[in-house]
Symmetry: D2
Subunit: 350 residues, 4 copies
Amino acid sequence: MNVIGVGVIGVGYWGPKHARNFAEVRGSRLAMVADLDERRLSAMRDRHPGLRTTTQHREMLESPGVDAVVIATNASTHVRLAREALLAGKHVLVEKPIAVSGQDAEELIQLAECSGLTLMVGHTFLYHPAVRALHDIVQSGELGEIYYAHAQRLNLGQFQRDINVLWDLAPHDLSILMYVLGMNPIGVAARGSAYVQAHIEDVGYVDLTFPNRIRAQIHVSWLDPNKVRRLTIVGSQKMVVYDDVETLEKLRVYDRGVDAPPHTDTFGEFQLSYRYGDITIPSLPSTEPLRVECEHFLECIRTGRRPLTDGWHGLHVVRILELADASLRDGNASLPRLEADHRLLVSGSR
Amino acid sequence: MNVIGVGVIGVGYWGPKHARNFAEVRGSRLAMVADLDERRLSAMRDRHPGLRTTTQHREMLESPGVDAVVIATNASTHVRLAREALLAGKHVLVEKPIAVSGQDAEELIQLAECSGLTLMVGHTFLYHPAVRALHDIVQSGELGEIYYAHAQRLNLGQFQRDINVLWDLAPHDLSILMYVLGMNPIGVAARGSAYVQAHIEDVGYVDLTFPNRIRAQIHVSWLDPNKVRRLTIVGSQKMVVYDDVETLEKLRVYDRGVDAPPHTDTFGEFQLSYRYGDITIPSLPSTEPLRVECEHFLECIRTGRRPLTDGWHGLHVVRILELADASLRDGNASLPRLEADHRLLVSGSR
Amino acid sequence: MNVIGVGVIGVGYWGPKHARNFAEVRGSRLAMVADLDERRLSAMRDRHPGLRTTTQHREMLESPGVDAVVIATNASTHVRLAREALLAGKHVLVEKPIAVSGQDAEELIQLAECSGLTLMVGHTFLYHPAVRALHDIVQSGELGEIYYAHAQRLNLGQFQRDINVLWDLAPHDLSILMYVLGMNPIGVAARGSAYVQAHIEDVGYVDLTFPNRIRAQIHVSWLDPNKVRRLTIVGSQKMVVYDDVETLEKLRVYDRGVDAPPHTDTFGEFQLSYRYGDITIPSLPSTEPLRVECEHFLECIRTGRRPLTDGWHGLHVVRILELADASLRDGNASLPRLEADHRLLVSGSR
Amino acid sequence: MNVIGVGVIGVGYWGPKHARNFAEVRGSRLAMVADLDERRLSAMRDRHPGLRTTTQHREMLESPGVDAVVIATNASTHVRLAREALLAGKHVLVEKPIAVSGQDAEELIQLAECSGLTLMVGHTFLYHPAVRALHDIVQSGELGEIYYAHAQRLNLGQFQRDINVLWDLAPHDLSILMYVLGMNPIGVAARGSAYVQAHIEDVGYVDLTFPNRIRAQIHVSWLDPNKVRRLTIVGSQKMVVYDDVETLEKLRVYDRGVDAPPHTDTFGEFQLSYRYGDITIPSLPSTEPLRVECEHFLECIRTGRRPLTDGWHGLHVVRILELADASLRDGNASLPRLEADHRLLVSGSR
């Protein structure tokens, strides 16, 4: 099979990492890089001598040596660039969020499906060994009945110009929760506050309802002194904590359950039996998530297989964010009740 | 001055600690202990040889050697017992919550004020050196403008028969927040779920609005694998984390602030300047909070001074809990909007 | 069986804890307390109303109501008081170290054996659930071949008047290592420095050689900013860390081993295969070690059974400390080589 | 000034990092890379398209485009390669240890001085912002009189074929201690054990004596389950802990001191006054140490300035390691006493 030529549009934070991976991975070569900032291009040429660069992304889209395009620009430009790339016949790997509206995301999905091109969204966490292991633990049923989940993604900065903290940080946890639980939320509500910049929320809470009475809360902040990336999933039998700030011990499985009391009518001593058991910290492979993601993208291009983080996955995340934003705008202090037509009827949508 | 005779009603978890303190502190003696369970009384006699015990709390209330009564029974019995004790002319230290309805709490306050007796509520955390230091830091203004607070009080159990997790755990954080911020909330909303026992929520979130746009969330749970007791207060200049699970390093002051960008119309480089500074862990005295609380109670009895955690403080906590409960019942998945008449107009009420 | 009357000599730090336990445990009663300091006795009477106290320990030894005596005084007085108590026909539980010379310890052992009295040493850690579990793990063989152990017991203070840091802190780790490994050391060397007080070492290192090439180092200090109590045992298959500063997660078993390369003569690629495996944190019961120790003492008195921490265990600890002290005095900067006659030939000594 | 052409010999673990830095830094260019393994060279060409590579390092030494050479091969080959490079007129940056014997190191120093070439050793930690800050804290005198230091550098693997754990890991701590304390040790003793491979110690302890009665111990291991990189320096006024495993909070300054008791003759209450004070975690810049090292190397070449980690620094480290090795071989169980002629008389040697 031929080597796939990859171009990268936008070499700010994520772009150079994509570029490095596609330069190193077997089966692809880094064909070209585009950015509006000539200094960034110059830095990329230092790192990749001989690399072709341009400030005109159209030059890349017209280049026959470019088979696939990575879009790693500001969120608001994702749709326009992805549309152009698909129309130019390029496979597309677009950074999350796929778009800032569900309608735009749907258009991209349709465009990719009609043209038979691969469209993948960079929800990198789903290629992280800890998230894979978390998924397997939850899906194995060893936690018992899933009760609820709680996620925190807090740090100081990075402030964004064009999106609020929900759009910046919550996509990670939404994507992880949907993948790990194997279902999409059916209810969303959100609350947030803008402290540092007017009208751009820097602290937010998203409440999610999943089928089977499963609830989840996602707490995101650009204003916290500590870097926190923690997801707790509580089941009737066991509980798991995924702490991404830990270097080695990212997952902890607690064999601590609670048995509900039998529903008797006696007035005897109230007893809930606790089972405090061992804690296990499973060993994880040390693969780089972005490397796995890039290899998955190349494989999907070659085989026509649907990516794990395809356009639909990206669309669901965007729809939830849209609803969360609407919820956040509606009402000053508290969360609005979800209307029936706000519910995400996404199960079975694929 | 005469030694104050103290009786303790209820010697389950907290009662014995009160008993020990009043037995050891100068200026008081442990006069009597009452409990319905004869085995508990027997255990108390082993620990305090010669101690007078009874299964009839009325016997204590009629005893002239008892000047003050500690009520450390189930929450639902607080009001009845406190009322009886006040009517019998005893000073009262009642465990939190003071009552399970604001109306009941108000009655107790009135009763104590009319009879000139001391009524104090066992919001022990306000006598904790870390909370005192936190209060001083916040009130000194060194955090800058207060933006928001986030509290988590999570653990596995203890399940309660008669109250949900909000009533069990949130009083601590409500009490601490009101004391540390020096103000009462003006808006409340809550959300919760009952997993293990039907109709008794074991996971809950309380959203609070304070004056000056200050927001706070309290997350409480009986279902978490880890014991978490963490309160973060974020200001424009500095941030503080109070982690009560830490043995020695309970407070951390982060000199990390964010400066908002000037509101210009230029399209130049977006810049938020971060100031990452030192972290300070202040040294704290190692006094036992309950000891300080007991001594404060004795001093208030002697001087007629109003306790820091008087009936009004207890009442505010109960009112917020009532509103939170109402909010939690109203609506299945999301938080109801607060009606104007739900707002707590408590500032200046003292 | 009759209730055993227990007297406590010395109610500084440990004495009151013994007193409380023997007052609460079934099968014993706290009969009397002795201390030279009348204020301490007064504080004990406050806690235990009606308790008989004395500044003359002989009064206790002559009392027929006292069957057993706990000696919780300064280390240098242990032997004299224990001897008197045994001669008066009392069973003895003496705090560690049993004596400050091996000869003294031997005399006490002989005295107790001749008179048929129980002599036990307060090496409390051997009654700690974490140490019990550590013992079981090591003895089960699941660690593979034991390679080496490393112990750190560091904190700021408490400075002692009459003994150096080796005698103050190392007895804990010596006792634990001998119990957990199931063997006594055959070689000792030590090094230390006196910084704050002349001639009283406040930092020390003890190097131990056990049979089967097992090595251990114990690092003790009164001068460290952090409180550290950590014991690591490394085997060929697994490794265990016992961290006593952790509240709940005291033991961690690492399934990380190293396989030695086969000894071939080829010049091929050098390969040591690492097995990084899961980490397990076993659940431990939450029993109070001192409570278990007190109950074990009572049981040994009743049954004539030999205590786990009998005089011989205490003697071995003292002999190692004597050798360590000798090693520390001999040579200014480095550790002296152990002479053959310095070796502890203690295996099989019971 | 002309751009300096840099060649890298050995592209296993460290070499590629040097290559990347010299490719990116202003003022240098990556001219050539040499390795015996063609696969490694191929990987380097993937990363640096157009890069000249060779399996014959002599080709590099003869190339006029190469002004300076980085030697990142196995320790045993350092001297031979550095000698050849210096004789070929190239500036040399050699990885630590500079050599495996002091005599060899001295030869390199002489060679560089005669030829006016820059000779630098890759003791990277001295370019780490945390070590720089630690140096400034210690040298400022705020710790008071320095008492002792304790260093631990523990992990599982990496096993080396040609050197033991002392030569592998201790150079870091030796280099840091000498730099931070501003003095060289005057006494050395060591102890170690070989468990996994015969005759190659995988656990070792080095005891150091510095002037002014300052003592230090370095504990290194390839066999520990946890990755530990911790250095504690205890002074009479304050104490510092440098924990390199921490991501952000690498330095902690403890304002906890101990005041010695006045030397009185009274028999009154023994009192050592402790001052428990605040803990400070200073903010550190996030510069990459290797980047700073590379820039320092280039600057020294240009200005003729003596590098911070020059040949003498490397020589001192090697001499201490030689003595430690000798001490370790002499005596089976314990540490030999240092002979007078073993002392390192290195102060003032520059």
